[in-house]
Amino acid sequence: MKHLILASCPDLSFWIIIYRKIVDPAKREILVLGTWFLELRTWRLGFVSCILVLATTVVYAQVDIYGYFEPQFSGMYYDSAFYQVNYNKLRIDLKSTAVKNIEFGANAIYLLYFGKKDWDILDFLPEHIVSTIPSEMYPYYQLTFKDTLFLDNAYARMNIRRLALTVGKQQLSMGTGYFSNPTDVFNTKDALDPTYEQPGHNAIRLDLYIGNRMNLMGLYTPIASDWENSGKLVRAKIGIGHFDFSILGNEMQYTTTDFYTFELTQQRRRIIGADIVGELLGLGIWAEGAYSFLEENDDDFYEFIVGTDYTFESGLYTMLEYHRNSLGKSDYTEYNLNDWMRFFTGETKTISQDQVYGFIQYPLTDLISIGSSIIVSVSDKSVAFVPTINYSLFENVDLMLIGNFYVGDEGKTFSSSLGNGGFFRATVYF
């Protein structure tokens, strides 16, 4: 169910924003999961961006406008009842290369929800955990999906010979993993739909391409009010033979929430990470790992992923990944409220320590492909089956059907009591 809800809400940071910004820990003021001020901010940004774009259009008349419309219908059986939460999403992209060597790009997203928009997260937590929460805190765990408009990306990218400078809200993606990326400190993938687009991040990025297969990247993310606590990242990438290697170092301030009290803790972390992708004995292979050094205590942790894939002559594509997150727990009876909520909000990538992801896909016809993901939470012995069907209805229309079926006892990552269901998504590009 957690995944279903998150899949219904494509901007994953939406959840995080709700918990980190709407709930004020000092005043204990319950702002029942409204996003009105978030909307105010995004409306302002949207308005300003529209003016900028219109001005650009008038001046240069060389702006490409494109995007997609995406209705999604999600349904689930939970507690002997059927629920649905749906959205209509409109994304409009603007891109201009009117100025030589400079690219301007932006996109705005409008999300309109319908169906069951009010949810109580406590309904999906194990009874023994809910019983630990004081009843006066219950309203904190309400979730309401509200219609929203936001500027997801807005950046300028300048290419000067072997240098590329990108400034603004932009897509940032790191790592070679498919289901999860330990080195990606900016995004948390939804394992049910790992290739879906991620939200943009404010950053200044500098890429220096030294050789044909070597580049250095420096990244500054102003997430705090000062330089010291803002994010800094450097990455070196090199290609040797059939392999690409990269190493990175990152320093950033993280916010950890205590979901019993809704107190926020700021914490500086230093991360070193590396990844590799290539081929061995005809198999595609990749690995990615990160070690996090925490400044204030000794609870350092690490995360890594290794994977392999192969395509058979018939077109059958197969993939297998193993993922360890030392921050996760090996005994599911020790999962507490913070573990669940941090997992839900993306503060931690997994709740259990070891996961295995499997994926197969077969092109049934030239227009239809079928497949399935199997996500095994090894630590607590629960499994999620995620069958998928993709159908290319027309040249610019894709249909996607995803199911989720959980097999696990109460309290486990993929407990069958979390509800089973799926979603249908149509994407119409223009």
């Binding site: 997609y68 391409y209 059939h242 227009l367």
Partner: protein, 299 residues
């Protein structure tokens, strides 16, 4: 035969004006002019005779040469013709699906080092706009750039078997420039007429150590243009199972290189077809190396 003759004839006119020009510079007086004219007449006579003899000898030699062309020489010459040093163009790919629908893609292509490096950037439709595929080392290394997530993903060589955007072309079909030479043993059969033209018929059998996607290939190479007119591809596991057929047509001379402007791949197993049409192409370009990098994919 004709293409070698054609190449020779192209070279002849460059010889004559050069000689005439040399004479012009040396003329200084009437006597000298007369002497020069006589000398020139003699030279022209000699040149003309030599020219005619040369052509005759060339025709004879070409005929002999053509007859003696080995399978290896034909496949080498064809590969050279089909893979110019550098190229830049715009292509239109039309897929006819099993349901009879047509899907049209437009993309820009860039290639260097006789196809050893190649880059494709989709222009249309919007679903794949700005998506780019970079192939290096004759498609042994493939990267795909997804603009919506700004992610570059490296694919292993097994991905060469995957269809490009659901078309009847695999990455291997699109990218490998010297596959026919490196991955197959070639045998020449008796010449045949194909598509109304005289062709060399070649049969290629996959080398035992090769992992190429087709066990056997039969092709008909136009004798004049030295481009393949028809290529039959046979299944990876069954050399008798006819899997695909490629037909090239509308061959035009562009920048001195014979270029099939239209290519159709018929999938005999799925009963689908994909057509490719060159909208524009030039071979007289100097593409920078940094185009064939991650940066180049994102530009």
């Amino acid at each position: 035969m004709f293409n070698y003759l054609d190449i020779y004839i192209k070279k002849i006119p460059f010889c004559l004006p050069t000689r005439t020009r040399t004479l012009d510079f040396t003329i200084k007086s009437e006597n000298q002019v007369k002497f020069a004219e006589d000398k020139m007449m003699k030279k022209i006579d000699i040149s003309t005779i030599a020219y005619i003899c040369g052509i005759m000898m060339l025709i004879v030699a070409s005929n002999l040469y053509a007859q003696d062309l080995t399978a290896h020489e034909i496949i080498n010459t064809m590969t050279e013709t089909m893979n110019p040093d550098q190229s830049q163009g715009k292509m239109k790919m039309t897929i006819v699906t099993t349901s009879g629908q047509e899907r049209t893609f437009e993309y820009e292509t860039f290639s260097k080092n006789q196809g050893e490096k190649s880059l494709m950037k989709y222009v249309k439709p919007t679903r794949v706009k700005d998506q780019a595929i970079l192939m290096l080392n004759n498609a042994d290394d493939i990267w795909v750039y997804f603009p919506r997530t700004k992610r570059v993903r490296k694919l292993a060589t097994h991905a060469k078997k995957q269809k490009v955007e659901g078309s009847d072309f695999s990455y291997e079909d699109m990218g490998a420039s010297n596959t026919f030479i490196d991955e197959y043993n070639t045998v020449r059969h008796s010449d045949e007429k194909k598509e109304g033209r005289q062709c060399y018929k070649l049969e290629l059998t996959r080398k035992s150590e090769s992992s190429a996607s087709y066990s056997r290939i039969v092709m008909w190479v136009d004798k004049e243009y030295m481009v393949p007119l028809v290529i039959d591809y046979y299944h990876e596991d069954d050399p008798k199972l006819w899997e695909k057929q490629l037909v090239c047509s509308d061959i035009q001379l562009i920048d001195g290189i014979y270029t099939p402007m239209k290519i159709v791949m018929y999938n005999k197993l799925d009963n689908t077809q994909t057509g490719m049409e060159i909208i524009e192409v030039t071979y007289q370009v100097d593409l920078p190396d940094d185009l064939f990098t991650e940066q180049g994919m994102q530009k």
